[in-house]
């Protein structure tokens, strides 16, 4: 049985017509960097930081809406990586997803403590899949990430609008399902079913779920 991470890589490559070896090498490099971080290798830590901090910073800023808080969140996520690189299990998924998960978790914790939560999440949905040409590609080291960006955006674009809206409000807005139900004036059960169906589609597109 193939490992989940390889299924993910092959499925992603099939969907885009990209070279599998490019993606495998990119992920293999990440795993090697994490392994070296475990040995106290500062350069490996810098390598992961340079590769993923622009995306991590963008995610944190999007969720919390305050750059200095976003900076704190990204810093804490990377410090967690440095302190406990063994927290990454390659059998469970990719390094980049693990890292972004740490950032997202912290960002949502922050936004839920914010009194101005509702105001900041008002416009959470429109920017999420904005397919603008990426200027940062010229100045940051992110081998393989443009392909990743294209794949994720395409997967989101392919979702029915009502499913995408719920997922984006949840992920980028930090809203719970009951809050989304209130905001969209929908039954909670509808929000739950849209979440499930949207995630199934995303898993099929990005992870190669076979159903």
């Amino acid at each position: 049985m193939a490992q989940p991470i390889l299924l993910m890589q092959r499925a992603s490559a099939r969907g885009r017509g990209d070279d599998v070896s490019t993606i495998d090498l990119s992920e293999a490099r990440d795993r090697d960097l994490v392994r070296r971080v475990g040995q106290g290798d500062e350069e490996a830590f810098r390598g992961l930081f340079r590769r993923y901090s622009p995306s991590a910073f963008a995610l944190a800023k999007r969720v919390v809406r305050q750059p200095f808080l976003a900076e704190e969140i990204v810093q804490e996520a990377f410090l967690a990586l440095w302190r406990n690189p063994d927290g990454y299990d390659q059998q469970r998924g990719s390094v980049k997803s693990w890292l972004m998960g740490m950032v997202h978790h912290r960002a949502v914790d922050v936004v839920r403590r914010e009194e101005s939560h509702r105001r900041r999440t008002e416009d959470a949905a429109p920017e999420a899949v904005d397919p603008v040409v990426d200027p940062a590609q010229q100045v940051v080291e992110e081998i393989g990430l443009p392909e990743e960006r294209r794949a994720v955006r395409a997967a989101l674009r392919d979702l029915p609008e009502e499913q995408r809206q719920v997922i984006e409000l949840m992920y980028f807005g930090g809203l719970s399902q009951s809050k989304i139900a209130q905001k969209l004036e929908l039954p909670l059960g509808t929000v739950k079913s849209r979440t499930l169906l949207g995630m199934r589609r995303l898993r099929a597109a990005l992870v190669g779920m076979e159903r």
Partner: protein, 235 residues
């Protein structure tokens, strides 16, 4: 069994996006426990959902990180690791004594400030330091520590090696209650780069501190990125 997986899949799909309400989080925990924590199918669903959730971040345009951010994070990371080794090597009590010694040295370095500071907190810094908790700030731009007594109002900020801010600028200290910054005083270092500042406030509800460079009007909310931060929760 299939029904169990359907429920778990529905709950996990929202959980990885941080969308579950508390009662559904509990329902997920109950379902996982009832179904068996070693279920490979449940684990596969969770891993796939988590993989998707993490990768959604890449739908966003990457953002340029602030100048010097990488060095600040690396410095803090390497420093923390050294700290952990230090704790193992000398023991917690020895480490605490070391921190106090650092703060005391900073205070001594401040020299004549003792006299002036005595009018602030009602006790001299050297007296105040006995039994105080001392936490170092992390970041660039100087060596700064704060000493405070848990349960008692008031704290001292000690600093050395701080650059004099540009004309019209000042350092400003912030206490964070949750993620709400509370202005806690402005200060400028002495010509030699030292500072000794009494903070007339309780740190009981403070989890983090930050120092920014602000206009000399001392704004009520930070307008720049912190150059130094201290985490009181790990002290």
């Amino acid at each position: 069994m299939a029904l169990d997986h359907a429920l778990i899949e529905e709950l996990l799909s929202a959980s990885v996006l941080r969308g579950l309400d508390p009662e559904d989080e509990q329902a997920l925990a109950r379902a996982r426990t009832a179904h068996g924590t070693d279920c490979q199918e449940c684990q596969r669903i969770q891993d796939e959902c988590a993989e998707v959730a993490g990768r959604l971040a890449f739908a966003l345009e990457p953002a340029m990180v602030p100048p010097g951010f990488e060095d600040r994070v690396v410095e803090r990371a390497v420093g923390r690791r050294a700290t952990a080794i230090g704790r193992r090597g000398v023991g917690a009590r020895g480490w605490a004594r070391g921190l106090v010694a650092v703060a005391a040295a900073a205070a001594l370095f401040a020299g004549g400030w003792f006299v002036r500071a005595a009018t602030f907190g009602g006790s001299r810094p050297a007296e105040f330091l006995r039994g105080a908790r001392v936490v170092s700030f992390q970041g660039t731009g100087g060596t700064v520590a704060i000493a405070y007594r848990p349960g008692t109002s008031g704290a001292y900020v000690f600093g050395a090696g701080l650059r004099s801010p540009q004309a019209g600028k000042t350092y400003e200290l912030w206490r964070f209650h949750g993620d709400m910054p509370i202005p806690s005083g402005c200060f400028r270092p002495e010509p030699g780069g030292t500072v000794l500042q009494f903070v007339d406030a309780s740190l009981a509800a403070t989890k983090q501190l930050a120092i920014t460079i602000e206009s000399s009007s001392c704004p009520s909310a930070p307008t720049t990125t912190p150059i130094l931060t201290a985490d009181l929760t790990t002290a």
